[in-house]
């Protein structure tokens, strides 16, 4: 697998940039994002800090609307025009992408950081051929001839499991699974260091989902990219990601090694999430957390999970809990972290979570 042909001149150390830990491929610091809407200002992300490790995967889990997609869009630089970023840095290769000049940011996009989106029919432009769209991505970042780019596209398509002879077809002629593979191929064309994956298999059946992720893991071994996997499916993260971060209502509430966080969660929300996983070895019903996430347009005091948390105390209503270490490489944002080990058994019971 040649890495050289599509790689544009790789950015080397630049003067006046931010120091970075070489084991981290993307470092997000203190990112806050608000949206201006008819209803007022909506808070999508609040002081989010995350590091994506090099050569390993980070899973970001949370409910719909918790801000995961916004996070990804901020990372790759395609926030909507009505977005306001009051604070935050997105640091890659020593450069803060949010503060960088637009042309520089544009060049980084796809070449170093790419994204696998959900594979709705509209993810691909319906009036252009699939091959042309892949070639377009390549030629936007390197001076490769159309012919050469086409050959590379065919190569990549066959690697992901799509018949390369179908390169000249239109998106509506591909099945859902094939479209998703094409999107993955497109995301990997420039051999990026980091691939963001936004619910990549949500609209597909589990068998196809399994095949696709198997292939992605193989490709990761060959090409060596990191993946930031955003999903609401905890099971998928357990299977694919070494590290996990849990997001609730625009904030990170827990993060750490996946094995640590899942076996011994510290945040009540994570406890609740774990309960919702169906278990094949035991005969228990999954327990869901009642209620819904708080309104992003309304200011909140204290912990945002307080109205759904079975373990809330007075302090939870007034003071925002900080993300603090609870074990080695494991952080959580809860006032009751010391009590949690004792509450875990209670958390596994159905009655705890009923309203």
């Amino acid at each position: 697998m040649s890495k050289s042909s599509t790689r544009a001149s790789k950015r080397t150390d630049r003067p006046g940039t931010v120091e970075m830990d070489p084991s981290v491929v993307l470092s997000v610091r203190d990112l806050s994002v608000n949206f201006v809407t008819k209803r007022g200002i909506e808070t999508a992300l609040q002081n989010v800090s995350l590091d994506v490790p090099r050569g390993a995967n980070l899973g970001l889990v949370g409910e719909s609307g918790c801000g995961k997609s916004t996070f990804l869009k901020a990372a790759i630089g395609v926030l909507a025009p009505n977005a306001i970023v009051p604070s935050g840095r997105v640091i890659h290769a020593g450069v803060d992408l949010l503060a960088a000049d637009p042309e520089e940011a544009r060049q980084v996009r796809w070449r170093d950081i790419s994204m696998i989106t959900q594979s709705a029919l509209n993810a691909l432009d319906p009036v252009h051929r699939v091959g042309d769209q892949i070639v377009e991505a390549v030629r936007a970042h390197s001076k490769v001839s159309r012919k050469a780019a086409r050959e590379q596209a065919k190569e990549m398509l066959s690697i992901v499991g799509v018949d390369p002879n179908r390169i000249d077809e239109f998106p509506h002629q591909f099945s859902g699974g094939m479209r998703q593979r094409a999107i993955i191929a497109m995301a990997l064309m420039l051999r990026p260091e980091l691939v963001l994956a936004d619910e990549p298999t949500t609209s597909l059946d589990v068998i196809v989902q399994d095949q696709i992720f198997r292939r992605v893991r193989e490709l990761q071994d060959e090409l060596g990219f990191s993946m930031l996997l955003v999903t609401h499916d905890l099971g998928l993260v357990i299977e694919n990601c070494a590290r996990i971060a849990v997001m609730y209502s625009g904030q990170i509430v827990e993060e750490g090694q996946t094995s640590d966080v899942v076996s011994a969660p510290f945040h009540p929300y994570t406890l609740g999430l774990k309960n919702s996983l169906p278990r094949l070895d035991r005969d228990i019903e999954p327990i869901s957390i009642h209620g819904g996430p708080p309104d992003p347009a309304v200011q909140h005091h204290g912990c945002r999970f307080v109205y759904r948390c079975p373990f809330a105390v007075d302090a939870c209503h007034t003071v925002v809990p900080e993300l603090r270490p609870v074990a080695s490489g494991h952080k959580a944002a809860c006032h009751r972290v010391e009590d949690v080990p004792g509450l875990r058994e209670k958390a596994a019971q159905y009655e705890t979570w009923s309203p």
Binding site: V108, T117, A123, L124, A137, A140
Partner: protein, 312 residues
């Protein structure tokens, strides 16, 4: 398409005969003496059964044999020839210009949202659509021709000049000078609709996932605008071309009247004034043919633009 034309012919046949009045007046000149009329009726086979008349009529029209004018006794087909080109030369280029310019401006407005110019342009375009084109034409003549003396007051060439040939005429400056004002007025009139439609269409397309993906791929803005956003937004616009084209051709009657432009529309009006039915029928038919052809071509264009359409 052939079926449509055929049906149209049939419709016209009955239309001209079923409406009140002596149907034979469409073929026989009413100003002739009764004996002459009777002779003509026999000659044209008007005493034969309706079906036979119909077949003769269809056969004639299929060969573009439109009979002879009551007024001038010239072959109607001859009269139509020159007029047909005149109408096409005025209507088609101005319609194309209007669509292209309108689409570009509409797309630009949608791409760069906000700004007072957007509100103003949308308002003006909507209001201008409401102004009758003949009225605008008259005002244009009043202002540009009479007051400012920039353009001639109608007609296709300066009255009195005899062009070398019909074709050569289109390449003279005199012709272009005369074409300018009607061209501008028609373009201005037709530009509003594609502008507004393109703008709405773009506003919808811009929110689509593939546009976001195109941005993520790090493509240049210009490329995203033209190759992805506009290309997709053109589709609704393209579906309207057949209809608008039909209206424009039919509406040529009005523009040609205002500017005394010798085209098919004006020919038909003149024919109606003089009850010269062969002329009326033929020009009506040719206008319809022009419309049907244009509609057909526009439908094909849409098939090319949208890869999801498959033509058997």
């Amino acid at each position: 398409m052939a079926i449509t034309l055929f049906a149209m012919l049939t419709l016209m046949f009955f239309m001209f005969r079923l409406l009140p009045g002596d149907p034979t007046m469409t073929v026989v000149n009413a100003t002739l003496s009764p004996e002459a009329q009777a002779a003509m009726k026999a000659q044209f086979g008007l005493d034969k059964p309706l079906l036979e008349q119909y077949l003769v009529y269809v056969a004639n029209y299929a060969r573009f044999d439109f009979g002879f004018s009551f007024q001038t006794s010239r072959s109607v087909a001859e009269m139509i020839e020159g007029r047909l080109l005149n109408t096409m030369v005025l209507i088609f280029p101005s319609l194309i210009t209007a669509y292209v310019l309108g689409a570009l401006i509409g797309a630009g407005l949608a791409w760069r949202r906000g700004g007072r110019s957007e509100v103003a342009i949308v308002f003006v375009a909507t209001a201008f659509q409401a102004a009758p084109v003949f009225w605008v034409g008259m005002l244009a003549i009043l202002f540009f021709s009479i007051n400012l003396d920039l353009f001639p007051v109608g007609h296709i060439v300066t009255p009195g000049t005899v062009p070398e040939s019909t074709w050569k005429m289109y390449f003279t400056t005199d012709f272009l000078h005369h074409l300018a004002l009607p061209f501008l007025v028609h373009t201005a009139y037709q530009i509003c609709f594609p502008l507004l439609l393109m703008r709405s269409s773009m506003l919808g397309t811009i929110g689509e996932d593939f546009i976001e993906l195109a941005r993520m791929k790090g493509l240049r803005e210009v490329r995203i605008l033209f190759r992805h956003a506009m290309r997709n937004s053109l589709l609704p616009l393209a579906t309207t071309i057949p209809m608008i084209l039909g209206w424009a051709v039919a509406g040529s009657v009005v523009i040609e009247t205002v500017f005394s432009w010798p085209g098919l529309g004006l020919l038909m009006i003149e024919g109606v004034e003089r009850s010269d039915f062969p002329v009326v029928q033929a020009s009506f038919f040719m206008i319809a043919v022009l419309t049907v052809f244009g509609t057909f071509a526009a439908d094909l264009l849409y098939g090319i633009l949208d890869p999801r359409i498959v033509y058997d």
